[in-house]
Subunit: 344 residues, 2 copies
């Protein structure tokens, strides 16, 4: 199985694409480990876990809070977990984000590894070292960047995913293709249905490509001072949409990518037919292309408060062509004006 | 004024010994900074602060909690603070610990610098990059290690310190002398009264020496895998005493150092008369030498839960002579047995 490595500032992360949950005991000191998971993952796969104490947190974006983090800290303290205890997160993006943050901060840093159980976590959330939780309505306002020692991406775990969660992952895979890999983009166009049908070989291909793309970008710019910002393609609008429209992350990113390519066309960077091509791909994967009516003002307000704004400028990710992105510092007003024209 | 630098894994920290609070505007982007302080420091020195928004937190060990951290996050979000905003902590050890942790985690890391207003913060808490808060009864259970860009140690701010807080700082200075600097130890023996009387020149000498010692140790072992553990001299027992006896950190560390030298004598490492010499110094500085009666069992229980225990071993700091410490991994049972024999 391919192991891709990410060289972080303070350690290397090994991403085991095509690894198995059953490999976990070989990667951790089982007798000195604690598992963080959520109730659903535990129900489905708990019988495959190594024999470690398990902390099961709540599910969904609403569980991605400091309150959850505090409860995990308290459970670790009750288990007499030490700085040398290994924390293994097994779950989707939210479990991985919470487990990574707890491990980065409990006793100023425990060892940590992740088993990603959703497509979104395997291609994005679990890879690259970002962790953290939301604060009030703001996504990922609190966290750190710290590479887990390993990430296991087990394709067998994807068989139980609801279609909506598969689509969430596909949105991020489309993102990776759009910014960095025209060949992957063509594959998605040709094999979208196989992916929606959870064909293991097709999934293995797109997970492997996504991890390869993300690992390379993060290895060159872990701290997000430059190139890593391209991974926010579709996310500046996407986060604002997610926050205000009650949509899933994947649906919001799909809508955000559609807006971002239209913005790229308007700014003279991208041919209109390429924007249409992205739209067709998103549509063929069952991802939404149209925003709910009447949310424009709320999205604009959320955008204004978005963390990616730095001073009065937004580092906005635009597309030059399929496989090539650029980050442009744009005045917030220019982004707001485009949004006002596109969205009511 | 001497500037001592600490090379951390992810950045350099410049400690300005003999710097001034009034130097702060030259070290931060005033128009993009936020100050974290406490109500008393703001009352005493707020008129000297640069013109930045101020977040005043509560005072005392009881304010060193995740709840305080969350309130500071929320105030930062309300101020629309960004990743590029500078967070300046102005206060004693608790303010510095909270501000450092918030800066390490708000939006995955803001810029940060500290102005240390107490002797304890200037010689210990603000220097070396450790930050964090308590969890339930456990000290510093949550935090990170991340160097602030600068620390200003302004001697003029010490004039307002109550004697008990001066003694807290002196306990840590005695610790530095005991583990690393026989010359500083002699100076403390000779000039203790001048220090208690807040003589500026004597204070400048011991602050400079302490920062030099701590900066050197941290520069060689930021992550506390080896030598940095020597800075825990007196703290294994000290933390357990602080938690269970309602004493200040300095008083508890004084008692912890007395126990640690007696343990060093019992283990055949230290001459008894050297242990007596440390006791006399602590006594001359008005630091306690005798524990309250009947706390032995509670201290033992707290010790058992102490974070420095790793598995069944304690990395215990013993003294070979004045100016030379050693870290020995000891079975927890050996440490508990010594404690049971010494303390009722």
């Amino acid at each position: 199985m391919p192991v891709l490595t990410i060289q972080g500032e303070r350690g290397v992360s090994a991403v085991h694409v095509g690894g198995r949950l059953a490999d976990l005991p070989g990667l951790i000191p089982v007798e000195r480990s604690v598992i963080v998971t959520d109730s659903r993952v535990f129900e489905l796969y708990g019988h495959l876990f190594p024999a470690c104490p398990v902390i099961a947190m709540g599910r969904g974006e609403g569980a991605k809070t400091l309150e959850t983090v505090q409860r995990v800290y308290e459970r670790l303290a009750a288990l007499e977990a030490q700085r040398s205890t290994f924390l293994a997160g097994i779950g989707g993006g939210i479990v991985c984000d919470v487990a990574g943050f707890v491990a980065a901060t409990y006793m100023r840093g425990m060892r940590c590894g992740l088993v990603a159980t959703t497509l979104l976590a395997q291609v994005d959330a679990a890879v690259g070292g970002k962790n953290g939780v939301n604060l009030g309505g703001f996504k990922n306002m609190v966290g750190t960047i710290r590479q887990p020692e390993f990430v296991i991406c087990d394709g067998a775990l994807l068989a139980s995913l609801p279609r909506a969660e598969v689509q969430c992952g596909l949105a991020e895979i489309v993102k990776h293709a759009a910014i960095a890999d025209a060949g992957l983009f063509s594959f998605l166009e040709e094999e979208g249905q196989r992916l929606l049908d959870l064909d293991p070989q097709a999934l293995a291909r797109v997970v492997g490509d996504s991890v390869r793309i993300k690992a390379a970008v993060v290895g060159r710019d872990e701290g997000e001072h430059g190139e890593r910002r391209t991974l926010n393609f579709g996310h500046t609008f996407g986060h604002a949409i997610e926050k205000t429209c009650g949509l899933s992350h994947g649906a919001a990113v799909s809508l955000g990518m559609r807006l971002a390519v239209r913005f790229s066309v308007q700014r003279g960077l991208l041919a209109p037919q390429v924007a249409d091509r992205l739209e067709r791909l998103l549509g063929s994967l069952g991802l939404p292309l149209h925003l709910p009516e009447g949310r424009g003002a709320a999205i604009g307000e959320a955008l204004r408060q978005d963390k990616k704004r730095e001073g009065r400028e937004v580092h906005f990710v635009l597309l030059d062509r399929i496989g090539q992105a650029r980050v442009e510092p744009l005045p917030l007003e220019a982004v707001e004006a485009f949004l006002a024209q596109e969205v009511r």
